[in-house]
């Protein structure tokens, strides 16, 4: 069987699930951020696959992926800055110990 749209969508779903597991389970804030990046990349694969197989001449999905990359870059910069700021004030980036705003 030749590789088609479903294969790319399944790959995207598997990568997204792995990222979701990491974001839910990990205690280190940096690993949580890495998992979120994997989730964003998985969604990008689905976008490009739809663009390639459903509307191959319009490239709409690829335009979306460019904006996803912009948001991912901004998110990584701000997220890591927040992590470093938290580490400076509390000496830890364990997500279970950063609970100042927990009710």
């Amino acid at each position: 069987m030749s590789v088609g749209l479903e294969h790319y969508l399944l790959l995207s779903a598997i990568l997204f699930s792995i990222g979701l597991y990491g974001a839910l389970v990990k205690r280190s804030a940096i690993v949580i951020l890495m998992s979120i990046e994997i989730m964003l990349v998985a969604v990008s694969i689905a976008m490009v696959a739809f663009s390639r197989y459903i509307v191959p001449l319009l490239l709409t999905g690829q335009v979306f992926v460019i904006f996803i990359m912009v948001v991912a870059a901004a998110e990584a910069a701000v997220g890591l800055a927040i992590i470093i700021a938290i580490y400076r004030s509390r000496e830890t980036i364990d997500a279970t110990k950063i609970d100042l705003m927990k009710w």
Partner: protein, 163 residues
């Protein structure tokens, strides 16, 4: 097309293994390295989808910039010794993720996608530029993206500045 199929399977397997390594490895630095490998295989996946410009941008932004930021943050926070432990929610989270994956796979395998028979445009760089900046394009989102990046840079500088 058989070459593309083989490339897809190799890239998919390597990418999934690398993503699993990010989540499962104890050493946080090795997790970051395997995250870079995962991003590289995704760039290869873009090539098999005939998205050449996106593959180049993927290597530049994810492999080049975001990975360097992540490794820098790991070095600055002395996380390497502490490893990458899990919290108490490991089994419930695993069940949630398996349920999610099952639901999504069921939905996407049972949807009658209207796959177009036309060949994709190649190379995509000029076509993407026309799409972004041309008539009925995405001029306003591009400008907003520039403002968003500026705000992110300023925010990051303000957050990590010495008091």
């Amino acid at each position: 097309m058989i070459g593309l199929d083989i490339a897809f399977w190799i890239l998919a397997v390597v990418g999934i293994v690398a993503a699993l390594a990010v989540v499962l490895l104890r050493d946080i630095f090795r997790a970051a390295i395997s995250m870079i490998l995962c991003f590289l295989t995704v760039a290869g996946i873009y090539v098999t989808l005939s998205a050449d410009f996106l593959a180049a941008v993927q290597v530049l932004i994810y492999v080049g910039a975001i990975s360097v930021l992540v490794i820098l943050a790991i070095m600055l926070t002395r996380e390497v010794q502490r490893g990458s432990p899990s919290n108490k929610l490991r089994i419930p989270a695993f069940i949630v993720v398996v349920l999610f994956l099952g639901a999504v796979s069921f939905a996407l395998l049972n949807t009658p996608w209207q796959v177009s028979a036309e060949l994709p445009v190649e190379p995509t760089t000029a076509a993407l530029a026309t799409r972004l900046f041309g008539e009925n394009g995405y001029i306003l989102p591009v400008e907003i993206a520039a403002v968003l990046l500026l705000a992110a840079i300023l925010g990051a500088i303000v957050l990590v500045r010495e008091k």
